[in-house]
Amino acid sequence: MTAVQAPVRRISWQTRARNNLVPFGFTVVTMVLFAVFFVWPAVLGLYYSFTNYRGYGTAKLVGFANYVELFSDSDFYQAVLRTLTYAVLVVPLGFVVPLFISVLLVGPFCRWSRAAQILFFVPWLISPIVAGVIWRWMFGESFGVVNFVLSKVGIGQISWQTDSNLSLATVVIAAVWGGLAFNLLLFMAALRNIPRSYYEAAQIDGASSWRQFWSISLPLLRPTSFMVILLSSIGAMKEFALVQALNGGGPGNTNYLMVQYIYHTGFELNKVGYASAASFVLMVMLLVIALIQVRIDRRTELG
């Protein structure tokens, strides 16, 4: 009896070793990086958020004081509100525009679509910093081409830099412009994967182009749409570089978004504890956004 069991146990030990040691060998580098650059900062940040740490010396625990201060800080509310406004504008636009263009590009009616695609890809080559510079140049109040054209057609000069809402609008335009190529890539790849026969069958049944888009393309694009919306909402919530180059969060501090607010308090004012508390609020917001979207995605899948 034992003679029979022994080899069985040895094999299972070997398999177990193979199932643990080998994958450990493959993942150990990622695990170290994950621990050092994700878990450690997250734990440290949570600790700092309860201290008055200023980047040097010792950190003194202050309980929830940072969070209390944060929630009575009008600059913080302004940054949160500005970030949410920005996301609410950028995400739908950054979804609809690439979807529309990709449907036209992949569809049977567009001539020279390959060449057009290259033109749409130009912003992909441009970093957020340079994209910000380009749009700053376009929207310059007294020298930009946009105001030049507007004054030519009789609308007159518009204060793109000194009005905080218009200034945010320029950031939205720049973000949709710069983000198009990547989302276009996602949509076009997904659209090309839809079998042509679906559309042919729909055509025989007399379905209009709009109907075909609504009943074939859109439902089959769902996983991609979910991905695009999730990635662009996260991207919008942590926007920084583009704003830095376009208007520096101005005029004044009216267009500070969350990451810039954290950067400003943490690195320019050295309030590390306070900035860490703000970081955790942003983290919770991101998590809530992601969870809501996963939830909606799952529900529509069932329904």
Partner: protein
């Protein structure tokens, strides 16, 4: 007879409506494409205008006097060669490490199952939703403690791990039949040898796609270099550019040409790899 002509008329109507649709769609697409191109084109052409022409109304699309003076000043005043070198080192080294590390991790996720791998996968998933940008102040402390402050390694190491890369490889390796590995195992090949000599070469297309995108991300990175690098000698291009925009009185002539110079490497990359870039199916990595 009537039947035939009716059918012909119908077919003709269908071809005219088809060609009408083609005309309209093509017009819309090209109008949009030109609009999309315009800001970049305007910027490029402006960079060849002399300083006096930049701000004098009426503006013209093409410079009245073409000049490279902005480029000359930018090249003389900023150590571009240095910034390009720094950025290239960061982008190339990070990309190389990212591809190897993502491939190994993705392979493990595709081939093996056990409880801690499952948890680790969830951990990786969370990093996409909670990017390290949001915990900058404490990550900066970690960088300081590790002695990576003001060094290129300080921006390379934190960005090696990318969830997207891991997911792309996991997705790909889970489509490779396991018989392939079994056969090699019977021939006496070890697990790591199987990965290195059979699996990694198989995944070359995925590696290429990830390499291109990783290079692109790292070339454009801004926030980490800004925080970690202190000495202008170590600046990457993006941080150096920002130092021109950040001042109160922007020298537009220099800024325009400096920005254009910073784009040249990406344009070259795009020209070299445009088929791979435009046909890249990023869905595979991002979907699950």
């Amino acid at each position: 007879m009537g039947d035939v002509s009716g059918e012909r008329r119908l077919r003709r109507r269908r071809t005219t409506s088809r060609s009408l649709a083609t005309t309209i769609v093509t017009a819309i697409v090209w109008l949009l494409a030109c609009a999309w191109m315009f800001p970049a084109l305007w910027f490029l052409l402006s960079s060849f205008k002399p300083g006096s022409e930049l701000f004098s109304y009426p503006l013209t699309l093409f410079p009245k006097h073409w000049t490279f003076s902005g480029y000359v000043t930018a090249w003389e005043r900023f150590s571009f060669a240095r910034y390009v070198l720094n950025t290239s080192v960061v982008a190339v080294v990070t990309t190389f490490l990212t591809v190897i590390v993502s491939a190994a991790t993705g392979y493990a996720f595709a081939r093996y199952t056990n409880w801690w791998l499952r948890w680790f996968f969830v951990g990786i998933l969370i990093t996409t939703m909670l990017p390290t940008e949001v915990i900058m102040p404490s990550t900066f402390r970690v960088i300081l403690d590790l002695g990576l402050y003001n060094s290129l390694a300080g921006i390379i190491l934190p960005s090696v791990m990318t969830a997207t890369g891991v997911f792309m490889f996991r997705q790909y390796f889970s489509t490779v039949p396991s018989e392939l590995a079994e056969a090699a195992r019977i021939d006496g090949a070890g697990e790591f040898k199987i990965f290195w000599q059979i699996m990694l070469p198989l995944a070359r297309p995925i590696a290429a796609t990830l390499a291109i995108f990783s290079f692109h991300w790292r070339w454009n990175d801004y926030i980490w270099p800004l925080i970690v690098l202190n000495d202008p000698k170590n600046y990457t291009l993006q941080v150096a550019l920002r130092s021109i925009v950040g001042v109160d009185n922007i020298n537009w002539s220099v800024l325009l040409s400096a920005s254009i110079i910073s784009l040249i490497p990406m344009v070259a990359l795009f020209i070299a790899f445009s088929p791979q870039i435009m046909n890249a199916n990023m869905n595979s990595g991002l979907k699950d």
